[in-house]
């Protein structure tokens, strides 16, 4: 047996020796991938890369078919379906459920394109804020601009989430351990943060545009959005005040010609996103403009609703300039024609996010609510004049608000969910939609939270009512 022991010992020693030499850790050290750049030594240490971390968000936003992209799963499209702006011809369940105001808790667009995508941009914004907090090497001017943009992005995304879903988690940290168990934050608290972010952004952002084009938020962008937020909060004084800042800003004016409004860097544009899909201009143009009867698949599957077409006053130039139609087999289909380019290799149109016309409407509403009907009418008339319509004549609050709602409907149609959110915020959704949507329930004003999200974060509590 000693021979075995002897041999075992020898073998054991050999094995041990091998173990020791292989413990040298050098071999298993690898370089980072060539396609990635490491945060620590790089991103938040110089102006170029730090700026890259911010414009990456815009690039993603406009590339996507969801959230801000303007395509078939975007806020613009889906909330237009939910409201009374479009007639749906698609047989697919995602758009049909929005159209019928009977959204399944498993609806893929709810989860992927509205909820997850919104929070992805919020994460990116928080990441920039955290990175810049401790960074050195980024110049002070750039730093303040980038912090302002990140805060604007965070506020912008929270605004849509809180309006589409109601109380949602407010995310201001990049720590997933905190965020994964974050319960819903009350609507008031979310707004409080939105206003704080926008106020801060307003003070940090540059007056002019970086690079001259209106494609990255500047001070006016934060102001314009703040005006809207105050309007939604019924803070009429602040809403009017913020809107005035823009209306009085000589850098912005209403385009005289309706067909020029949606061109790149138009006079009334405040913030636009630059399309980046080859052979296309905007996703809105690609999806809304019909060249055949509406399809049964998901793209080019809608036409303007009879309700919206009926809302235009006779002679409204927006009806003739921003609406077009196609006739197939004696059926005439009308479609939004704000964006004129369905496909092109050359960019002439950018996707509009904020424009001056809305500021007039905000101020008109704020002024009306505060009893200044004259001022309100004058703001409305700025838009009516451009549309070739006679001045507004409303002289009671109720009539004034009706006029403003009407003007918003025909001015801002199929843009960024304005109509849907207006119906909701003015508590008129039920009255308007119940007779045109057979499945209408009053709880449909809020979309359901994604079922998967409720499953993944039990602290989110109950689903929105009615789902």
């Amino acid at each position: 047996m000693s021979a075995i022991q002897h041999n075992m010992k020898k073998a054991g020693l050999l094995v041990c020796w091998l173990f020791i030499i292989s413990s040298c850790t050098k071999f298993v050290e690898i370089d980072p991938p060539k396609t990635e750049t490491i945060v620590g030594p790089k991103v938040f240490t110089n102006d170029v890369d730090a700026t890259g971390a911010v414009i990456g968000v815009y690039g993603e936003m406009i590339h996507s078919s969801g959230f801000a992209g303007g395509y078939t799963q975007s806020i613009t499209f889906l909330s237009a379906l939910s409201a009374d702006e479009l007639t749906n011809y698609s047989g697919q369940s995602v758009p049909r459920q929005f159209y019928e105001n009977a959204i399944s808790v498993n609806n893929a667009a709810i989860e992927r394109s509205l909820w997850n995508e919104g929070y992805r941009y919020i994460y990116a914004a928080n990441r920039v804020l955290r990175g810049l907090q401790t960074s050195s090497g980024v110049s002070a001017a750039t730093k303040s601009q980038l912090i302002g943009e990140a805060q604007f992005i965070r506020a912008f995304c929270h605004f849509y989430l809180v309006n589409l879903f109601g109380a949602v988690p407010l995310i201001t940290s990049t720590d997933y351990e905190v965020n994964m168990i974050k319960p819903r934050t009350s609507v008031d608290s979310v707004y409080k943060q939105i206003i704080a972010d926008l106020r801060n952004a307003q003070s940090l952002l540059r007056n002019d545009y970086v690079d001259g084009q209106k494609v990255r938020p500047n001070k006016a962008t934060a102001t314009a959005f703040l005006a809207r937020v105050y309007l939604y909060r019924k803070d009429w004084a602040n809403a009017g005040q913020q809107a005035s800042l823009l209306i009085n800003d000589p850098a912005y004016r209403l385009n005289d010609t309706l067909n020029e409004v949606f061109l790149q860097n138009s006079a009334e544009a405040i913030w636009q996103l630059v399309p980046n899909m080859p052979t296309y201009n905007t996703w809105e143009g690609a999806n809304f403009i019909l060249t055949a009867a509406p399809a049964v698949s998901s793209v080019n599957a809608t036409a303007l609703s009879p309700e919206l077409l009926a809302a235009f006053e006779p002679g409204d130039l927006r009806r003739t300039n921003w609406v077009d139609s196609i006739t197939v087999d004696t059926n005439q289909y009308f479609f939004p024609y704000k964006y004129k380019v369905k496909r092109s290799d050359y960019l002439t149109e950018y996707s509009m996010v904020l424009r001056l016309a809305e500021q007039y409407l905000i101020r008109a509403e704020a002024r009306a609510q505060r009893g200044n009907f004259l001022g309100a009418r004058s703001d409305l008339n700025m838009l009516r004049r451009r549309a070739g319509l006679p001045p507004a004549i409303a002289n009671t609050l109720a009539a004034m608000l009706r006029a403003i709602t009407h003007e918003r409907q025909v001015e801002l149609f199929t843009e960024w969910g304005h109509r849907w959110l207006d119906l909701k915020r003015t508590n008129t959704a039920a009255a308007v939609l119940s007779h045109i949507k057979p499945a209408w329930k009053n709880t449909a004003v809020l979309y359901p939270l994604p079922q998967n999200e409720l499953a993944k974060n039990p602290l989110l509590g109950a689903q929105n009512e009615g789902y």
Binding site: V28, V57, Y176, D329, D345, K456
Partner: protein, 1045 residues
């Protein structure tokens, strides 16, 4: 060592004094016994002592016969020409015999013409006749045994004889493979190996497989076994591109990397299962190891082997869909139920109602043609051998149009040894190159079974695709959206070894692989519905490559010795591994083509947009060792260990230790059981326990990095790559195994049962996160524990072996059980939606569909928490097992004269997706199987299917959404018994062959997936998915095999 004798002939009371020193045992015995007219022979580790038989009465007639001559000879192995020590040489008909020495030589006195029986463990026995002339030095080569207990198995860094194994190893051989007309080694293993569950994801040629060895160990890391081809790790993950949305470029979804191994080159596939067999692979062994060994060169004059076959394949079972009348009735009823009327764009309601097309028959009703040709030559001298092979295969589809998979392969192997007698130095070189090309549509046309049966004509009078003014998504357009995949793989390896001291061998194995794949999907403008307004066609391009090298220096020490009554055999192995992998993948969208003719050219695109890019590096370093000790061929101990380092972990967590201990006891060798022989001819009890790991995670998860974002203006921004976690570490897999192996009636019945209990802890997961965190997941360790336990049975019997008829069977059965044992914090985690403690990982959790409410005609779901309302999440707690519950195979082999018939049945008990709950509900503008006719129509009637609806927002529409996405009805019983393979071989008579200078040649007829017995209502239970998928085809082939020598 033991002796077996009769007390009457050799009394233990009789004592003699002799003195031997350094004498060979056979000489000692011969000397001792000769005087007593006794002789001995050696068989299976036992010396049997017998009286010398009296010579026959007529023995004296022939002078020559009486003349005693001494013959000498050498016994070597057929496979590598190494000498075989301790082989027994026995004179047939007598009990007289000797053994070879260390160099394989023997000396034996014989009387005239004699037949010798040569036996050695691990080799098939051999008989040779020695003439009565002056005997020369005999050279005897034994063929390694390929079946039964003496079969030599390939194990980690070496070989072992099945009899002496302490671990759990299964094998299939070239013979098993050659019975099946398959293109992928995984396909050849289906139903043949216990513990290995292989399911095809699609029947399309070149498709991928889902492979699970002994269940699912990991919640979310890879569960792929570790593949090694001739010592070189082979990638288990496909290079096929899948975009973020999980859509791939071709109809087969993804290609199996193992397509790039030529099955005709394979000598054997060995499957290592338990800790004892796999722990030496450390972090990569958790999911089992599959060793593929290719054919080596043979010594002797060069010979050629040619094999050719051709055949056809068809879909064995199609599902009946509604005819036009039934379809339109469904649609009308759906509109009526919803209180709606068809609009102008409900086109199918306005189409010609007299048309009828069976779209399933149109799309998958054709026949696939299969052609396969293989040739190889091999030969060589004592010190150098070679083998070369080439092969070609073509397999088309059952789709209309010309689509096919093609594969070409060449291989070369050469082995050399030094010229000294013991061949102390050896070198083996091998190179395999396989290239394949798969041309398929971009989507699986099987799903087009649901096109409205009254759809308009597909082509107009000019033969141009008819779009019906944009209203008809013409299914035939998909024939123009073509997918082409080209891939190739080079695998080269070398093994150099030298015996520096007797018993001590140093060895280095080196390998290099490079796999490349290019994929192109073209979408010509003529294939695009004009209503979508494409300005020009577009293409998708993807390419990828993986290259990897590995170097493994090893030292092996082997020693046999005798001490007292005991014999010992020791084998010690120590080695190091250095490995590096690079993987890169890119994909592009090409748009703005001026002509459809240019679509396959990336550079002709006006605009090329990058869709994605992967670029990773992986480095791996390890030291490993094994000690194998065998005492008296009865007690076996096997210890293995490995220390691993992997670049997939953060700097503080790179290294980990793994190891295992295995032991076996061959109790049939015990004296007190000898009495049972030959009834109990073999008995072994074995067990092992050890720890292995799993590092099948993506690279760089610990790095905090940014990647390039889509273009904005003229700049590319950056976006965060992932949520990062620098602290995750290895997933640990503890494996316990016990096995009992029995042989009865002289090993004519072999029975084998394994029990295993594997526990995976420190689960390394991409932890699913709520969307509010901004990312879908984070890599981290979970304190969850997953267990896999199960029994595996194998029964191999030689039922009849009489004269020219023989019948043997082999039955195998695996019963895996998977369980999520523990998951602290499950309730408050994102995994709560999918998993339940105490249930398997493969389990569906959701709503329980009770049936159709006879009053409303809408599906109702069980109120699980009895709160009188059906809500989420409280009522989504019903649980149903999914996946495979039991599987196995039953093989029978019959031989009669020149005929051989092999029949393999495969059986699987499982729950799988029900295609009835696909994303289109009955009533919408998509055709349905006839089973939807049993729908609700009037109150009070019980039906299986709810009322038709065409509105996703109607009560029935919303109920369907739950039924198809969240209810247990998504899964149904998809168990099946399948005649997987039948093979009839006719051995051409030798006298015919002789004229053509041929040897050992056959004609064969093979059938694959001949029939399937199942209750599953869809096309095929194996490829069941949420949408109907191209099934494994029923194929029939005829072939020839020739050997020229």
């Amino acid at each position: 060592m033991q002796a077996f004798y009769n007390d009457e002939q050799l009394s233990s009371a009789e004592k003699i004094d002799v003195s031997f020193r350094n004498e060979r045992l056979d000489q000692v015995l011969t000397t001792l016994l000769k005087k007593r007219r006794l002789t001995w022979y050696y068989r299976e580790e036992t010396f049997v002592i017998l009286p010398v038989k009296d010579p026959p009465a007529d023995a004296g007639k022939d002078e020559m016969m009486e003349k005693e001559v001494t013959i000498t000879g050498t016994v070597t192995s057929q496979s590598d020409n190494t000498p075989i020590p301790v082989a027994s040489i026995q004179i047939k008909g007598s009990q007289h015999g000797v053994h070879t020495d260390e160099s394989g030589t023997f000396t034996l006195p014989v009387n005239g013409p004699t037949t010798l029986m040569i036996r050695s463990m691990g080799y098939d026995p051999k008989e040779i006749t020695v003439s009565n002339k002056q005997p020369e030095h005999l050279k005897i080569r034994l063929t390694p045994a390929i079946k039964g207990l003496n079969e030599v198995l390939v194990i980690a860094y070496g070989t072992a004889i099945r009899r002496n194994l302490t671990g759990s190893v299964s094998r299939i051989t070239a013979e098993d493979i050659s019975q099946q007309p398959v293109a992928n080694p995984l396909q050849a293993m289906q139903g043949r190996v216990t513990g290995l569950n292989i399911m095809q994801t699609s029947g399309l040629p070149g498709s991928d497989y889902k492979v699970e060895l002994r269940g699912r160990n990991s919640i979310s890391s890879g569960n792929n076994p570790f593949y090694i081809v001739d010592g070189v790790p082979f990638t288990a993950t496909t290079l096929s591109w899948a975009s973020d949305l999980g859509t791939s470029l071709g109809a087969n979804m993804s290609s199996s990397p193992l397509n790039l191994i030529n099955v005709a080159d394979i000598e054997s596939i060995d499957v290592l299962k338990d800790a004892d067999a796999t722990a030496i692979y450390g972090s990569r062994g958790a999911n089992g190891v599959i060793l593929i060994t290719t054919k080596k060169g043979r010594k002797g004059p060069a010979g050629a082997h040619v094999s050719v076959y051709t055949g056809i394949g068809q879909v064995g079972h199609r599902v009946q869909y509604l005819n036009t009348q039934q379809y339109l009735q469904m649609r009308r009823e759906a509109f009526a139920n919803d209180g709606a009327t068809p609009s102008a764009t409900d086109y199918d309601m306005h189409w010609d109602s007299t048309r009828y097309t069976n779209w399933q028959r149109e799309m998958i009703g054709g026949a696939s043609r299969i052609m396969d040709a293989q040739a190889n030559v091999s030969g060589g001298s004592e010190h150098a051998q070679f083998a070369m092979g080439a092969g070609y295969r073509r397999e088309s589809t059952v789709y209309p149009g010309s689509f096919a998979y093609q594969k070409g392969a060449v291989s070369m192997r050469a082995s050399f040894s030094t010229l000294d007698e013991n061949k102390r130095g050896k070198a083996l070189f091998s190179a395999n190159y396989v290239t394949d090309r798969n041309q398929l549509p971009s989507t699986d046309l099987t799903v087009l079974s649901t096109v409205s049966p009254n759809a308009p004509r597909p082509y107009d009078e000019n033969g141009v695709l008819n779009w019906e003014h944009g209203a008809f998504d013409n299914p035939y357009a998909n024939l123009l959206k073509r997918y082409t995949m080209n891939s190739n793989n080079l695998l080269a390896s070398a093994v150099l070894s030298y015996e520096v001291l007797p018993g001590l061998q140093v060895k280095t194995s080196m390998g290099y692989t490079r796999m490349q794949m290019n994929e192109t999907q073209i979408n010509p403008i003529i294939s695009l519905n004009p209503s979508y307004d494409y300005a020009s066609g577009y293409s998708l391009f993807a390419d990828g490559n993986i290259s990897s090298w590995i170097v493994e220096p090893q030292a092996i020490y082997e020693k046999k010795w005798q001490h007292g009554k005991h014999r010992s055999k020791l084998n010690v192995l120590a080695g190091l591994t250095f490995q590096q992998d690079w993987r890169s993948q890119r994909s592009f969208l090409g748009t703005g083509y001026t002509s459809d003719a240019l679509l396959e050219d990336m550079t002709s695109a006006a605009v090329l947009t990058r869709l994605g890019v992967v670029n990773t590096q992986y480095r791996y370093n390890a030291a490993f060792g094994r000690i194998n000790y065998i005492l008296d061929e009865r007690y076996i101990l096997n210890l293995t260990g490995r220390r691993d380092g992997s670049s997939r972990f953060g700097p503080d967590n790179r290294f980990a230790n793994f190891g295992a201990a295995g032991a076996a006891w061959i109790f049939s060798q015990e004296k007190w059981l000898k009495g049972l022989s030959p009834f109990l001819s073999f008995g072994k009890l074995r067990g092992s326990y050890g720890i292995t790991g799993n590092d099948q995670i993506t690279d760089y998860g610990y790095l905090d990095t940014y990647v390039v974002a889509p273009l904005y203006q003229d700049d590319r921004g950056l976006m965060a790559s992932r949520l990062y976690n620098p602290a995750y570490s290895w997933e640990k897999n503890l494996k316990l195994e016990a096995g009992l192996e029995l042989g009865f009636a002289d090993d004519r019945v072999l029975f084998n049962v394994n029990w295993y209990y594997n526990r995976s802890s420190n689960q390394l997961v991409d932890y699913t996160l709520p969307g509010a965190t901004g990312f879908p997941s984070i890599r981290r360790n979970l304190p969850a524990l997953v267990s896999n336990t199960g029994y595996e049975f194998e029964l191999v019997t030689t039922n009849i072996s009489r004269g020219r008829f023989s019948w043997s069977s082999s039955l195998n059965l695996s019963m895996p059980r998977n369980k999520l044992v523990r998951f602290p914090g499950l309730q408050s985690s994102s995994y709560n939606a999918w998993y339940t403690e105490g249930q398997p990982l493969n389990v569906f959790k959701g709503a329980h569909l009770l049936g159709v409410d006879p009053k409303t005609g809408v599906y109702v779901f069980e109120d699980m928490n009895k709160d009188s309302a059906f809500t989420f999440p409280g009522d989504y707690t019903a649980v149903k097992k999914t996946g495979t519950l039991l599987y196995g195979g039953w093989q029978n082999s019959f031989q009669f004269r020149n005929w051989q018939l092999d029949v393999l049945f495969q059986y699987v008990k499982q729950n799988n997706f029900s295609y009835l709950y696909a994303n289109v509900m009955p009533g919408m503008n998509a055709n349905q199987p006839v089973s939807v006719l049993d729908r609700w129509q009037q109150p009070g009637v019980n039906t299986a299917i709810q009322q038709y609806t065409q509105s996703p927002g109607s009560p029935a529409g919303l109920a369907f959404a739950i039924a198809m996405a969240s209810s247990d009805q998504m899964y149904n019983d998809a168990s099946f018994i399948r005649l997987k393979n039948i093979c009839l071989t006719y051995q051409l008579p030798a006298k015919w062959l002789k004229k053509c200078r041929l040897k050992n040649s056959q004609v064969f007829l093979q059938g694959q997936n001949v029939f399937t017995i199942t209750r599953y209502p869809g096309i095929d239970p194996e490829t069941a998915a949420q949408l109907e998928t191209y099934p494994p085809l029923r194929s029939l082939i005829l072939g020839l095999r020739f050997n020229f020598f």
